[in-house]
Amino acid sequence: MLRLLLQVSLRNLFRSRINLLIGAIIFFYTLLLVVGGAMLDSLLGSMSRSIVGTVSGHIQLYSVTSRDPMSIWPTMGNEPDLSPMQDYQRVEGAISKLPNVKAVVPMGINGSLITSGNTVDLTLAELRGVVREEKENGKTAELEAERQSLKEHVRQIVRVLHTDLGRATEMETTEARDPEALAAVERASSDAFWQGFDEDPYGALEFLENKVAPQLPDGDLVPLRYVGTDLDGFAKSFDRMEIVDGQAVPPGRRGMLLSKFIYEQYLKLKTARRMDLIKEAVDTGALISTDPELQRYVHQNAQQTREILLQLDPLKSEQAVRALRASLGRSDGTLPELLSAFFAVTDDNFQARYAFFYKELAPLLQLYRLRVGDVLTITAFTRSGYTKSLNIPVWGTFRFKGLEKSPLAGNISLMDIMSFRELYGYLGADTSAEIQALKQEAGAQAVDRTHAEEELFGSGRKVVAEATPGLIDDKKAFPGTAANLRRKDLQQRVFDHAEISRGVVLNAAVILKDPSKLKQTLREVRELSDREHLGIYAVSWQDASGILGQLVMLARLVLYVAAFIIFVVAMVIINNAMMMATLRRTAEVGTMRAIGAQRPFVLTMVLSETLTLGVVFGAAGALLGAGIVGWVGAKGIRATADIMYFFFSGPRLYPHLSISNVIAAMGIVLVVSVVSTLYPAFLAARVPPVRAMQTDE
C-alpha cells in the first residue's frame, strides 16, 4: 500500500504544471533556507568568535553594586561605571571550580588620551640628558658630538617654527600672536642664543622648554582604551592574541602591550601611514588618478612635510636632500621643496617612490612616535574624577589574529592590572605604602601641561569620589604624579598572581570549555553567586558586548522573520496550487473512492504527494544550496570594509554548511508542504464517489 502511495506520488510529480510550480517554490525556499541559514550561522559564528575571542570571553562578571551594566563596547563611548568586585579572589576561586569553566581572567577597562610625545620634547629631553651626563661623568668626544648634533637639531626645529610664524604673520589671521612668544622664537633663532648655550645649558634648556616648545603644536592626543588584566592569563585564555613587535610583558612585571592597529593608525609617522594606505589600495587595484581618497592622501603628503622636517637634524637633512635630488633627478631645491615634489606621487611612479621612501628616507626618520621599549605616560581619570598619570613601559605590540584591520578589535590595548588599578585610583595596601615612601623621597614637581589636559578630559567620567576601601584621593595625597613615578622602582617591582587577584578587579571574563553550554553555565554561575554571596552579576557575551551583541540577535531575528514571512507566503501559494491540482483531479479521486478507497486513503495520498514533492525538490534545493555554500566557502567572502573584519573574524568569511542547517531547512520545508496541503487533502477526501460517473469533462 505504501509502495503504491509512493508510486502514485512519484509519478504524479511531473504530471502537472502546478506540481512544477509547487516544486519550484519548495526548491527555492529550501535553497534560501540552506544558503541563508549557513551564511548567517557562519557570520554569527565568526562575530561571536570576534567578540568572545578578543576581550569578552563567554561570560562577563561584575559587581552587583555597579551603577551601569557591563558593556565592552559602550554605545556612546562612555565606559560603564563599574564598582570593584568585593572579593575577587573568592569569586575567582569559586567560579573556576565550575566544571565547564576553563579560566577566569580579571579585568578592568578604561580609556585615556595619550599625548604622543612630540619631537621637540623628545629632542630637548635628549639634549638635557647629554648635558646632565657631561656634568656628572665628565666630557667625552662622543658626548660632545652628540650635544652638537642635538643642538643643531633643535635649531632646525626652531627654524621651522620661525618660518611657520612668518607665514602666519603674513596671512595675519584673526588672533594676534602673543608678542612675548614671538620674541622668544626670535631669540631662539638668533645665533647669539646658540653661541651662549654652552655657558648656561640648563638656563637655555629651561627657556626652550617653557617658552618655545609650547608654541609648537603638540603631538596628537591619541585615544587609548586599555584593558588592565592579568596579562599571562589573558594571553593563555584569548589565544587569538599574538605579539607583533617586541615581546610579551614578563610575568609579574608592569607594562603595556599596544594594539598594533592603534600603533599603526595613530603612532606611525603620518606620511608613512598614508604611503602604506596608498600602497594597500593600489595593490588591490585602485588608481590614484581615479580615487579621490588616494588623491587626498597624496595631497596631504605633499603639503604636510613638517613632521618630517622637524625630525631631521642638519646631518640627516643633508643626506635626505642628496638622496631626494638623485631620485628626482634635480640638481637644486630645498628639503621642503624636494619632499613636496617627492610625495606628489602618481600611478606611474608610486611603487618606485614607495620603495625609495622605505629604503632611503625611513632610516633617517623615527617612523613611530613611540617605540617598543619606550615608556609611555598615560593620564587617565581615576574613579574619584581626578586625573592621574603613570609611566608604563611599552613591551610590544599585539594583535588578534585575523582582526588586524578591525577598528573594533584594534582599539583595545593591554596593560598589567597593577598599573590599571593605580590609574583607576584603586591600590592595594602595599602599593599605597610604597608610593607614600616614594613621595617622601622625591621632590614633588608639578607638571605644567597637566592643566591643559584636564580641560580636554573634561567630558570624561563624571563619577564623584566615593568612600571605597583603597581609594586614594590623589589630588590631596599625591601631587606631581608623573615626576614621582618616573622613578623606576615601581616599574621594576615583580608581583605574583595572588597580588593580581587580591586587588581590585572591575570585571572578569570567564572562558568556557564547551561554549554551547553557555546558558547552563551562566545559570550555575548565578546560583553560585547567590549561594556564596559573591555579589556579582554574570552576563553572557551577547549582553556584555552592548550594541554588537544586540546586532547578533538582530541578524538572527531578521532571518527568522524573513524565513517566517516566506514560510507564510509559500504556504499560501502551495495551498492555492494544491487546491487547483485537487480540483482538477476530482474524477480520478472519485474513481478511487467508487472502486473502494476509503477517505483516509485519499487524504494520505494527497499528503504523501506533497511530501514527496517536498522531499524531492527540497533535497534538490538543499543540494544546490550546499553546493553554493561549499563554493562560496572555498572562495570566501572578502571583507570590503574594515568594520567587516570584525564581523568576519578575519579578512574573509568562509561560510560552511552544518548538518543542522540542512535538517532545519528540510524540516521547515516539509512542514510547509504538509501543512499547506492539509486543507486540499481534506477536500479531496470529501470528493463523492459519484464524481467517477460524471464524465462531463
Binding site: 500500500m1 503504491l4 508510486q7 502514485v8 509519478r11 504524479n12 504530471r15 474524477a587 480520478e588 474513481t591 478511487m592 473512492r593 467508487a594 472502486i595 473502494g596 478507497a597 476509503q598 477517505r599 486513503f601 463523492p688 464517489p689 459519484v690 467517477a692 460517473m693 464524465t695
Partner: protein, 239 residues
C-alpha cells in the same frame, strides 16, 4: 434464489436550485445472481441514476435498495465504501484509469485496497485477469499508450480482479466504435458465463443490448418493461 440486488419503490430527486428534478419515480427491481442485464432508455430517463444507487455511490431519496443482502440506507459511508470494494466492480464510460499507473498497477489497485492477498498472489491474480481480457502483453504500459478498446479491457479486468459478485457498467461502449464496443460486451458476457458474476450495464445501443439476457426499459424515471432481447437467454421474473 435470493436476489443480489433488490430495489423496492425507489425515488430519487435531484435538487437544482429551488426545483426538484425527479430522476427515479418508484422503481422496483430484483436482480438474481448470474444475470447479464442491460438497462435501456432514452437520455435522461434515469439509467445512470439507477446504476449509482445499485453501486452504492449514491443514496435514494425514498425506498429501499438492498445490495448483497445489505440495506444501503442503513450503512455508514465507510461501510458503503467497503461494500463497493468487496462486492461491486465498476466499469466506466470513460474508462477512468489512473493515468500515472501502469496497466498492471491499475488492475492491482483494488487488490491493494482489499489487503487480502500477498504480493505474489496479487501478481498471479492480476496477470490472470489481464490474460482473460487479452491485454497481458501490455501490462507495463501506461493507459495513455493504449487504444480506447484496450483501456476498457483494462477497466474490465480492474472491475473483476477483486472477485465482486456484481459488476456495474454505465454505457461501457459509448466511447468506443461499434465493433470494439461489441467486443467488450462479448468479453463481459464471456466472464459472466465463466464465473457467474452478475453484470448490469446501461446502453443506448440496440446491438449491445441484444447480448443481454434481460433488458430493463426505463422512461422518465420509471421502469416500463422488462424483456428478453432477441436471441437472448431466459428472462427473470418481472416485478
Amino acid at each position: 434464489m435470493a436476489p443480489i440486488v433488490s430495489i423496492v419503490d425507489v425515488y430519487k430527486e435531484y435538487s437544482l436550485g429551488k426545483t426538484l428534478v425527479p430522476a427515479l419515480r418508484g422503481v422496483s427491481l430484483d436482480v438474481v445472481a448470474g444475470e447479464f442485464i442491460s438497462i435501456a432508455g432514452p437520455s435522461g430517463s434515469g439509467k445512470t441514476t439507477l446504476l449509482n444507487l445499485i453501486g452504492c455511490v449514491d443514496v435514494a431519496t425514498r425506498g429501499t435498495v438492498v445490495v448483497a443482502g445489505r440495506n444501503t440506507a442503513e450503512l455508514s459511508e465507510r461501510e458503503l465504501t467497503s461494500l463497493r470494494l468487496n462486492t461491486i466492480g465498476f466499469i466506466f464510460q470513460s474508462f477512468n484509469l489512473v493515468p500515472v499507473l501502469s496497466v498492471f498497477q491499475n488492475v492491482e489497485f483494488p487488490l491493494l485496497l482489499q489487503r487480502k492477498l500477498s504480493a505474489p498472489e496479487r501478481r498471479k491474480r492480476v496477470m490472470l485477469l489481464l490474460e482473460q481480457v487479452g491485454i497481458a502483453t501490455h501490462a507495463d504500459h501506461r493507459p495513455s499508450e493504449l487504444s480506447g478498446g484496450q483501456r476498457q479491457r483494462v477497466a474490465v479486468a480492474r472491475a473483476l480482479v477483486g472477485s465482486p459478485q456484481l459488476v456495474l457498467a454505465d454505457e461501457p461502449t459509448a466511447n468506443l466504435d461499434s465493433v470494439t464496443g461489441e467486443h467488450i460486451i462479448d468479453l463481459m458476457k464471456e466472464l459472466n458465463e465463466r464465473d457467474g458474476t452478475t453484470f448490469i450495464f446501461s446502453t443506448h445501443d440496440a446491438r449491445v443490448m441484444s447480448h443481454a439476457n434481460a433488458v430493463i426499459r426505463l422512461e422518465d424515471g420509471q421502469i416500463v418493461g422488462r424483456e428478453k432481447p432477441l436471441g437472448g437467454a431466459q428472462a427473470a421474473g418481472m416485478h
